[in-house]
């Protein structure tokens, strides 16, 4: 049926930057006011037009495995980023008429470099909400929200939605490589033994206690999110929880293996190289199980069928890790 007859699910418009914060060295949190932003759920994302033709890109830092290097300039790095960039919604308040949407960006390339220098009052062109988000848990079911690095934002949105619905028994386990890459400001030091604390400084207050881990121990417990989560599982008697996770693929594989061995349900929010974000360019493919196909799998688009998938569907995150 022509969808002109259906309520709009996606808007494409200019938004106004109303808040900019730098929660750590490498991340920027940007809040925008969007005049008509349809209903959204955690796990969905927006596509941002990072640069505008005619403006000069800020100097870019080149990211290496060992951290950012000194700023340097080449024509490649300072070019106008042509495509939009996808960002998970980190928070959303307000209704369809007047919504406030937050994203958190890690300065990593020519597109995100533009976001890093946004100021209050700037305009940001946005398309969204896009994709298929997390299924919310039933009110009495415990939920573990696991976020790694730049995969943390959708879990922040999830925690706010659960808190708004008076959901009890949500636990946050958030990790990063180091303090400089942890995209949330902490109001107090997170416990080094992984004990959950209300240490996160979020707009509107931290709805749930969080366990924070870093690979180098510069903040919170030294270790991986899965270490933090095992402390949590030891302490709390969790029966049949559901795990929501977003982060680097190695982390997602770890979460997939662990939840599978515990027999827990799990939904993973994945990241793929995207062109359009709306299901037309067919770039952001991932293998999902499909027994009706001869190969037992098919390509699914992360932008429209995902980015949230049930763990058992994802061939790369689960099957490959199990081998």
């Amino acid at each position: 049926m022509p969808s002109t007859l259906l309520p709009k699910r996606v808007c494409a418009c200019d938004s106004a930057v109303i808040e900019v914060a730098h929660p750590c060295r490498d991340h920027v949190r940007v809040k925008v006011a969007v005049p008509g932003f349809p209903a959204s759920v955690p796990g969905q994302f927006v596509e941002l037009r990072c640069g505008q033709a005619g403006t000069n890109a800020p100097r870019e830092r080149c990211w290496t495995d060992h951290g950012p290097t000194e700023a340097f300039e080449t024509s490649w790095l300072t070019r106008e980023p042509y495509l939009r960039r996808p960002f998970s919604i980190a928070d959303r308040t307000g209704d369809e008429q007047g919504a406030q949407v937050e994203i958190i960006s890690r300065h990593i390339g020519p597109g995100t470099a533009f976001l890093d220098v946004l100021k209050v009052g700037d305009t940001l062109n946005l398309t969204g909400p896009l994709g298929h988000g997390f299924d919310l848990p039933s009110p009495n079911r415990s939920a573990i929200l696991v976020g790694g690095g730049v995969g943390i934002p959708p879990l922040l949105y999830m925690s706010r939605v659960l808190a708004a619905e008076k959901h009890r028994g949500a636990h946050l386990v958030l990790g990063a490589m180091s303090r400089d890459l942890f995209p949330v400001t902490c109001s107090e030091s997170p416990a080094e033994d992984g004990r959950p604390r209300r240490c996160l400084q979020l707009p509107g207050g931290a709805p749930y206690a969080a366990t924070v881990t870093t690979d180098d121990g510069t903040i919170g417990l030294r270790g991986r999110v899965t270490d933090g989560w095992q402390r949590l599982a030891d302490r709390e008697q969790l029966s049949d929880p559901i795990v929501y996770a977003c982060g680097p693929s190695a982390m997602l594989r770890g979460v997939a293996v662990l939840t599978r061995s515990l027999g827990w349900d799990c939904q993973l929010c994945i990241e793929r190289n995207m062109g359009c974000g709306m299901g037309t360019c067919l770039s952001c493919v991932t293998r999902v199980r499909d027994e009706s196909r001869p190969a037992g799998w098919r390509w699914a688009l992360a932008c429209s069928e995902g980015p949230v998938f049930d763990r058992d569907l994802l061939v790369e995150e689960w099957d490959h890790a199990a081998r």
Partner: protein
């Protein structure tokens, strides 16, 4: 539809004709950048679009290439999707019902790896009155000899002749590849075979390398370059085909290749295009064809030009 859009829709200055098929505006979407219709329905008002060209359809379903399938490069993108599509049967069952309701002219892009495949798909699609035309993507290798249909004039002519026999009610458009020595020869071959409209250009073959890993960025190694990076090349190809072949044979051209502003569209029309496809730019702004059509209407009005078609081929060349 709002009264306002209905009013704009009827701006007669923007109406153009492609071999007898009237388009509301000269702005089309280019194949492979707009899906099959539902994807952009929330953000692109089809009732104000000249025409919509679907993603390629092949006889059998194709899963497409391994990722990474797309790379952003300077002023554009490289893609190697691998003609991922649902195949003819599912296209008819799942996509045609939506297309039937689309308030614009719809063209289906058809691709194949054998002449018989093209013929089978075109013969089946010729039955559907909701389709305005079929656009042949001839930038595929022919499995029987490995040559691309679009790089051999003889192969191309025979292909179009065979397809022409089964396409009786739809407009037959042939989309030319720029990866040839002589695009005018290809245009002649396509017209000899029975093409009613030519669209040009498809993407340029290119590649991107990650110096750090020493690997190609695309899993397919090579891909098609599109976006504003290729606009001057596309303009040249449209100009050449118009001057050397299309004008004297009275064959309309659909120009495409990096167009993303009203000025770009006017340039393509001056070079000889009767209509202009917007492709890669849709990934950045899906509503662009409608915005450009509005701006084109204003341009025509303020310059006292009665019809967009008056721009076609009006390039002022040095004497």
């Amino acid at each position: 539809m709002s009264a306002k859009s209905a009013e704009k829709e009827t701006d007669p200055r923007l109406t153009v004709s492609l071999a007898g098929v009237k388009l509301r505006t000269p702005l089309l979407t280019a194949s492979g950048t707009c899906g099959y219709g539902p994807e952009y329905a929330d953000v692109l008002d089809y009732s104000r679009l000249g025409g919509f060209t679907t993603k390629s359809v092949t006889l059998h379903e194709r899963p497409g290439n391994e990722p990474q399938r797309i790379v952003e490069v300077q002023a554009g993108i490289l893609n190697a999707i691998g003609l991922a599509n649902v195949g003819l049967q599912r296209f008819i069952a799942e996509k045609i019902p939506y297309i039937r309701e689309m308030p614009t002219r719809v063209f289906v892009n058809v691709a194949g790896y054998k002449q018989e495949d093209y013929v089978a798909v075109c013969e089946a699609l010729d039955e559907f009155d909701c389709l305005a035309g079929l656009e042949l993507n001839v930038s595929c290798p022919n499995v029987s000899d490995g040559l691309m249909f679009g790089t051999s004039p003889e192969l191309l002519r025979r292909l179009i002749e065979a397809v022409r026999k089964v396409v009786r009610r739809r407009l037959l458009i042939v989309k030319l590849s720029p990866n040839v020595t002589d695009i005018a020869a290809m245009a002649r071959a396509a017209i000899d075979g029975g093409a009613q409209v030519l669209s040009l250009i498809n993407t340029y073959v290119g590649m991107a390398i990650n110096a750090k890993t020493r690997r190609p960025l695309l899993a397919n190694v090579i891909g098609g370059l599109s976006g504003p990076a290729i606009k001057p090349l596309a303009l040249f190809n449209v100009h050449r085909v118009y001057r050397e072949v299309a004008q004297r044979n009275n064959i309309p051209l659909i120009g495409m290749g990096g167009a993303q502003s009203v000025t770009d569209v006017i340039e393509f029309m001056l070079a000889g295009a009767s209509a202009v496809g917007i492709g890669t730019a849709l990934f950045v702004d899906p509503a662009l064809p409608v915005k450009i059509a509005d701006a084109l209407g204003e341009y025509l009005h303020s310059n006292n030009i009665a019809s967009a078609s008056e721009l076609v081929g009006k390039l002022a060349l040095p004497q």
